[in-house]
Structures are given as structure tokens and as C-alpha cells.
């Protein structure tokens, strides 16, 4: 069964600094990896996904993520954080069999002005 680990419950970053939100995964085959963001009392919004190809994936709002197969990681990054990036970030995985998306526990990002 697939699983996702987000080792940090909370990440604090100063505005303008680069940010990284960590994610590692476990699947039996090749993974399909996703990042979603959740603002208070809102649904989950899709940021980006890795399916195949280039290991660096670019997504919405200036976010990007790097797929590392040897480390089974898919860390979310942004070169310059904004206060408005403060939210809850979920990493998710599914395998090639189109099984339901499995989410990590989430990481709360706080960007401080």
C-alpha cells in the first residue's frame, strides 16, 4: 500500500526567503505525486504533480517540486516566500493503478513578514 510522510508539522519562513516543505513516499511501483494546499475553511487546491519526465516540476503560484527517486522524496519549494503562502500543505501519492489518492499528515507553513 502506498503511503506519504511529511516529517514537519510546521515550517516557519521569513518573507522573501526560500521555502521547502518535505515529503517522502512509499509505493510498490512508479509513483504519481501531488501537492495540494488548503487555506482555512477551504477545499484542497491542486498545486502541481509529477507523473514522469523532468524531475523538477513547476506548478501554480511559483511553487516547484523536485522528484528524487533514490531518496523517494518529492519536496515542495519556492524561491521567495510570500505571507499569502501561509497555509496547510499536503503531499499525496497514488500508484499507476489509479488507486485513491493517499495524503500525508500535512505541513503548516507560516510565512512571517
Amino acid at each position: 500500500a502506498q503511503s506519504v510522510a511529511q516529517p514537519e508539522d510546521q515550517v516557519n519562513v521569513a518573507e522573501g526567503n526560500p521555502l521547502t516543505v518535505k515529503c517522502t513516499y512509499s509505493v510498490s511501483g512508479n509513483p504519481y505525486l501531488f501537492w495540494y494546499v488548503q487555506y482555512p475553511n477551504r477545499g484542497l487546491q491542486f498545486l502541481l504533480k509529477y507523473i514522469t519526465g523532468d524531475n523538477l516540476v513547476k506548478g501554480s503560484y511559483g511553487f516547484e517540486a523536485e522528484f528524487n527517486k533514490s531518496q523517494t522524496s518529492f519536496h515542495l519549494k519556492k524561491p521567495s516566500a510570500l505571507v499569502s503562502d501561509s497555509a496547510l500543505y499536503f503531499c499525496a501519492v497514488r500508484d499507476m493503478a489509479d488507486t485513491p489518492l493517499v495524503f500525508g499528515k500535512g505541513t503548516r507553513l507560516s510565512v512571517i513578514a
Binding site: 501531488f34 495540494y36 477545499g43 491542486f46 507523473i51 500508484d95 489509479d98 495524503f103 500525508g104
Partner: protein
């Protein structure tokens, strides 16, 4: 662009009562998923439907049932409600075209159920 519509947005029920949540997927999306998110928790998969047939089942209690109708909307029925059922219930939809597993799930805003 049309999004996933969920209703009601908020629902308050007493223990042992019944609740029904509705989900209207994005037009031409043929797959619907239901997730439950408890306070401070990650979304947990409950059940999914593809072309009106149940396609996958997760940690859905026996007290809950769901179905997808001919117009592709879906309903989650919850009976004998317990305090622990208080959560945010998300519906998501996707297409099944393209590479299996690669389709993006689009989530609704959620229905917040409070059981007193």
C-alpha cells in the same frame, strides 16, 4: 470555470440522527471521490465511484453509504451519527481519460458536519 459543488456547507446534527451530503462534480468528470478530514487530520479516503459504479472503498464505516446518480452527482448518507463523525467531508472529481493515476482530483469546498 465550473468547480465541484458540495451542499450543505455546514450541518449540525444530534447523535443517532441521519445526514446526507451532496456533491455535484465538474461537468464531464466521470469519477467522484469522498474524503473525511477530522480536526487537524489529513483527508482520509472513504469511497469512490466511476460511471455510477463503486470503484474503490476505503475506511468508510458500515453506517455510511454512498451512490452516484445518472447525472453523476453523488450523495453520502450517514446514519446513527456519532460524535466522532464530526469532520469536514470533501468530495472530489476527476476524469478517467489519459494516463491512469495521473488525473488531478479537483476538490469541493467541503461540508462541515458537527454532531452534538
Amino acid at each position: 470555470a465550473a468547480g465541484v459543488i458540495q451542499s450543505p456547507r455546514h450541518l449540525i446534527k444530534e447523535k443517532r440522527e441521519t445526514a446526507t451530503l451532496k456533491c455535484y462534480p465538474i461537468p464531464r468528470h466521470d469519477t467522484v471521490y469522498w474524503y473525511q478530514q477530522g480536526p487537524g487530520q489529513d483527508p482520509q479516503f472513504l469511497i469512490s465511484f466511476y460511471e455510477k459504479m463503486q470503484s474503490d472503498k476505503g475506511s468508510i464505516p458500515d453506517r455510511f453509504s454512498a451512490q452516484q446518480f445518472s447525472d453523476y452527482h453523488s450523495e453520502l448518507n450517514m446514519s446513527s451519527l456519532e460524535l466522532g463523525d464530526s469532520a469536514l467531508y470533501f468530495c472530489a472529481s476527476s476524469t478517467s481519460t489519459g494516463v491512469p493515476g495521473a488525473n488531478v482530483l479537483t476538490f469541493g469546498a467541503g461540508s462541515r458536519l458537527t454532531v452534538l
